[in-house]
Symmetry: C2
Subunit: 220 residues, 2 copies
Amino acid sequence: MATSTVEDYLKQILLLSEDADELVSMGALATALEVVPGTATTMVKALAANGLVDHHLRHGVQLTAAGQRVALGVLRRHRLIETFLVDVLKMDWTEVHPEAERLEHAISDAVLDRLDALLGYPAADPHGDPIPTRQGKLDSQVYATLATCIVAKPLRIVRLTEQSGEFLQFAEQNGLRPDTRVRVTGRNLPAGLLTLKKSSGRALTLSLAAAGNILVAPAK
Amino acid sequence: MATSTVEDYLKQILLLSEDADELVSMGALATALEVVPGTATTMVKALAANGLVDHHLRHGVQLTAAGQRVALGVLRRHRLIETFLVDVLKMDWTEVHPEAERLEHAISDAVLDRLDALLGYPAADPHGDPIPTRQGKLDSQVYATLATCIVAKPLRIVRLTEQSGEFLQFAEQNGLRPDTRVRVTGRNLPAGLLTLKKSSGRALTLSLAAAGNILVAPAK
DNA sequence: GATTGTATTTTGAATAGTCAAATTGTTTTC
DNA sequence: GAAAACAATTTGACTATTCAAAATACAATC
């Protein structure tokens, strides 16, 4: 019943509602799914007719409990597949996202359970994104970003939001992977720049926009 | 360009043309794909328009070189995935076929190459079906079946054609897997029955119809 | 050679998903 | 509070795939 298009819409609504709390706008949804806005409206109405979302005309969409269940399932499949591709097949963590994007619609629960066991029931994927449990629980801990954290404190990168290949390759080239230790050395708001130092001693500069995609926690 | 429906049609035409040499009839194709005959006709015309098959009106279809290339790619993906599911994920070889049926359309060449390497470049899948090479070469060695082989000679099962769960579970329950050693002890053509003895000493009876799906070679 | 049976093809309609373009609502801004 | 700007919705059309049912071709039988 849930085609892969439907799964994509639901997953995307879930992801967008994480930051832009509550209602997701049609424009944002359409952009994320790379369709024209009218298409998103049409599809959202169909989803609403099937009880998967609540459509508040002209204000946005929201997942129903049923829709959320589906979306969390897709997200779990996506993130476990990414973990498999990196941990077992040794693929580059910067390029597994599009692969998982297609496989997530084709893998069955039976296969997924085996994969989960093989990987040792991981809590997060290679980007640090939390993996929903089989029961649909998703760790929603809130982290500071490099753009909002306290200067000078020793930090640990926990997660890179933003899955684009370019961004991830930039991160990889500068050694900004999950679990890397860093310290923000300064911010220049007017210039939109931020400087930081890695535990290796290496210093580097990045834009605040990019820094906002890097979640950090205090290095314990 | 090649949707998963197109891939399914091409793969099925390849499989059917292996036994029913040359032209594949619409009826056979429609049955294999579980669609009504009119649907197969319509689709085959579309494939012909794209240069993937030759349609000999009222006589049957045949793959073109381009169609064969696509079909062999699908078959390679299917069989490598089955091998992975059994060898790495330790799934039951009698139930991996439908899983592979869906994954074969979603896996990329990059992932497939890694899988191939991880599995040690296998030549056949868990059912003994030969895996096409990356270059599209498919081992087409002809084997006798249990229904046509010489009585009393020591044999080795090389392959089970027929992917249905019931048949495979029957085979598994009676220990008739690829590489099992057996000897045909007798045939009763009028009754359509065949008796054989396994290397373990166990004797068993099966229908000639079932026996025709079990390919064998002389046990060296 | 007319009749019957079977396989194939054609036709018309349905569904899922999409876009382009026109329309309608809702906010800003002056 | 009218005009401009922007976001959301509606409409009509298109593609891919399917089915049901009618039409056609071919082969087999009497």
